[in-house]
Amino acid sequence: MKILFGLLIVLFTTPLMNPDNTTGYEVGDYVDDFSLKNVDGKMVSMAEYKEAEGFIISFTCNTCPYSVMYEQRIIDLDKKYASKGYPLIAINPNDPKKNPGDSFDKMVERASDKNYPFPYLIDESQEVTRNFGATNTPHMFIVQNDGGKYRVAYIGTIDNNPKAADKATKHFIDDAMDDILSGKKVEVSKTKAVGCSIKWKSTS
């Protein structure tokens, strides 16, 4: 009983004490679906996409220079892969109190200015971000539909040159999508991305 109680304490207190140190999903893990508010005011979840084979999920935001540098490439990924069964979903993980430029209103503006072809969701509680284990923006995840459940196939960055898309020599998302679309196991399934750390809410 004591051990069980101890375990419960650990289970319940650890994520609260350590908001930016949760490990999050690994490649191969099943992910929980989410329901988050889109810039059009409607809630979006993965389950609504009846036809999707999977998703490219991008934790990104308005303000991070790396998100800005990758913005067009994120738009292009949706244009390229939505028709192949892998639509892109963008999620802004930042606390707008810490980064006013990432408020919901600013997201609405941004999505309309840049004509985002994908939903741009706000993760107000930051729970989805924490579950995924996203640490910076932009942080990409590819999930595959496995009989109604979604399984992580890739975690990391888009390519190896944030400054200039045409100078990138490794295209991690494209390579992973090529593997997925040809029914193969993703060869490079995890990379790291330099970007802006996610602005977590103050715990106090």
């Binding site: 640490t135 960055t157 400054k163 790291k192 991305a193 970007g195 802006c196 750390s197 996610i198």
Partner: protein, 180 residues
């Protein structure tokens, strides 16, 4: 003849050296800090060099708000007599083309005296693990290392001032204990 030539030559040299040293003073006051552009190999030697001193290597960029917020604490460590055995090296991940317009400008504005270097390599996956395998890639990130005693700690977080000071005090204390 010969000696007169040498004499006049020396006078010229003296004159020139006065001018040169005067120019270098002007130059020094204009750009108080130089920022060396380094590659991954240079970064690795900074991380692994055995200098006998503890190195605090902070990864930052001018565009990174939390980095800019914590930078004064690192500068304070660099200037503090309490931490005189600690060497602070700030490695900027700004782009090399922004070195004058952003990095040096910021250094001058804040009168930073810590060593600043700019790592010119955007292929992050080729070097992130060389700093620390646990690093996700988010900045700020800080490596505290003393290669003479093979001790290192890595932090992927933004520091508060007291917290940074405590980490460094404990690090130095542990080194002194192991040395005994």
């Amino acid at each position: 003849m010969n000696s007169r030539y040498i004499f006049s030559n020396n006078r010229y040299m003296l004159k020139y050296s006065i001018i040169i040293s005067f120019l270098s003073i002007i130059n020094f006051s204009v750009s108080a800090q130089s920022v060396e552009i380094i590659d991954v190999e240079d970064m690795e030697s900074i991380i692994h060099e055995k200098t006998g001193k503890t190195r605090v290597i902070n990864f930052w960029a001018t565009w990174c708000k939390p980095c800019i917020e914590e930078l004064p604490y690192f500068e304070a460590v660099n200037q503090s007599s309490e931490f005189e055995d600690i060497e602070v090296i700030l490695i900027s991940l700004d782009f090399a083309e922004d070195i004058d317009t952003k990095v040096k400008k910021y250094i001058e504005k804040k009168s930073l005296t810590s060593t600043v270097k700019l790592l010119d390599n955007v292929d992050y996956n080729s070097w992130i693990d060389k700093v620390d395998p646990s690093w996700s890639g988010a900045i700020p990130a800080t490596l505290v290392v003393n290669n003479s005693v093979n001790k290192r700690i890595f932090f992927e977080k933004q520091f508060e001032e007291s917290e940074l000071q405590n980490v460094l005090k404990n690090f130095e204390k542990e080194i002194n204990q192991t040395n005994r």
